[in-house]
Every structure is written in structure tokens, then in C-alpha cells.
């Protein structure tokens, strides 16, 4: 079956602009996660959606970051007023329950 997909694969933007990153999870997966991987660093957790529960937003680095998920389907991560330190690969993952997570290919964001 189809895996996790993300779009766009690459995004170049200017400092101060807003960006939206999209994630399509594996069909039927109840949980969806966003992570960030900055150059030379490990993955940082950003936000976690589980079914209809309130999302765990504890990893969002600032109020410029927000995310939404429609039911158990698509999620959008929005970064407002982008800064150069936001440059990273943004990874989405989904899982059935809370165990093995399957990752998408990521969106490489470059803020000039």
C-alpha cells in the first residue's frame, strides 16, 4: 500500500514569508507526528495527533508554528514569518496506535 507522502519535497522561501507543508498519512493510521531535522542534528519532535484527542503541541518551538489535522487524514504544518533558523527537513510520520512509526520522505525547507 501507499506510504506516508509529503509535499512539497523542497521549498525555498524568503525570510518573513509563511509556508505550508502537507502530510498524507498511511490510510487507517490514527496517529500522526511532525518532526524537524536540522542539518547535523537529530530529529526533534514538534507535534502529535492521536485520533480525536487534543494534539500534543509540546515540541513546537514558537507560536509561529502551528499544525492542523482533518480527522484521521491529511495534516498541514504552517510556519508563519519564517526565519533562517527554520531551515530544516520537516518529517511526517504516522502509526496505528502508538508504536511503530512510518516516516514520509520529508520536505526540505530553505529560508533565504
Amino acid at each position: 500500500g501507499a506510504g506516508v507522502s509529503q509535499s512539497p519535497s523542497n521549498k525555498v522561501t524568503e525570510k518573513g514569508k509563511d509556508v505550508e507543508l502537507r502530510c498524507d498519512p498511511i490510510s487507517g493510521h490514527t496517529a500522526l507526528y511532525w518532526y524537524r531535522q536540522r542539518l547535523g542534528q537529530g530529529l526533534e519532535f514538534l507535534i502529535y495527533f492521536q485520533g480525536n484527542s487534543a494534539p500534543d503541541k509540546s515540541g513546537l518551538p514558537s507560536d509561529r508554528f502551528s499544525a492542523e489535522r482533518t480527522g484521521e487524514s491529511v495534516s498541514t504544518l504552517t510556519i508563519q514569518r519564517t526565519q533562517q533558523e527554520d531551515s530544516a527537513v520537516y518529517l511526517c510520520a504516522s502509526s496505528l496506535g502508538t508504536r511503530e512509526q512510518f516516516f514520509g520522505p520529508g520536505t526540505r525547507l530553505t529560508v533565504l
Binding site: 537529530g42 530529529l43 508504536r99
Partner: protein, 114 residues
């Protein structure tokens, strides 16, 4: 808060040599442990996982990891590496107070030389 420490940022080895990539975690409650691999220019792939049961888990390509609760470790080993094993390896944990989300180590770049 849960943390995962990968003790080596880079590990160079020669082909057919054994390798161990070290990982320690901090958690006082039940924990799930994972190793993910990221090949050059590719996404993250799950290599192996420990959820419960046998403390020794194996992957299909010859890697194995052992869950050691007393030492809070989950080291990854392979008795004989190939050039194709060159990649970055991430140890991750979920459970305890961070149930669901993964906490990752900083990654270990394994480079296999001919």
C-alpha cells in the same frame, strides 16, 4: 523528560569488520526502543524495534540489538558489515511520559570502507 544518547557521532569501519553503535536511554517506566536508518539521500526507515518479550531483536539484513534494562542500553551490532551499510543510524525511544512521540538520539554516521 526522556532522553536518548548515542555515544558516537561517527563510526568508520572496514568492510567485513564487526560494528557496534551505542545507544543509552533514560526512562524509569516501560519504554519502546527503535533503530532507524537513513541511507544517503533517502528517508528514515525502521531497522528494528523492541516492544516487549525477547530482549534480543534482529533485522532482516543482519543487524541485531539487545535491550538491557539494567544498563538502560539498546546497542546495535552487526558481526560483518558491507559497504551498503554506510548510512546514518538513529536510536529512538517512546513510552513513559512521552508515550507515542519518539525521542531521538543525535545519530551515528556509519561509514564502511573497502
Amino acid at each position: 523528560a526522556q532522553s536518548v544518547t548515542q555515544l558516537d557521532s561517527q563510526v568508520p569501519v572496514f568492510e567485513e569488520a564487526p560494528v557496534e553503535l551505542r545507544c543509552n536511554y533514560s526512562s524509569s517506566v516501560s519504554v519502546y526502543l527503535f533503530w532507524y536508518v537513513q541511507y544517503p539521500n533517502q528517508g528514515l526507515q525502521l531497522l528494528l524495534k523492541y516492544l516487549s518479550g525477547s530482549t534480543l531483536v534482529e533485522s532482516i539484513n543482519g543487524f541485531e540489538a539487545e535491550f538491557n534494562k539494567s544498563q538502560t542500553s539498546f546497542h546495535l551490532r552487526k558481526p560483518s558489515v558491507h559497504i551498503s551499510d554506510t548510512a546514518e543510524y538513529f536510536c529512538a525511544a517512546s513510552g513513559g511520559t512521552s508515550y507515542g512521540k519518539l525521542t531521538f538520539g543525535q545519530g551515528t554516521i556509519l561509514t564502511v570502507h573497502p
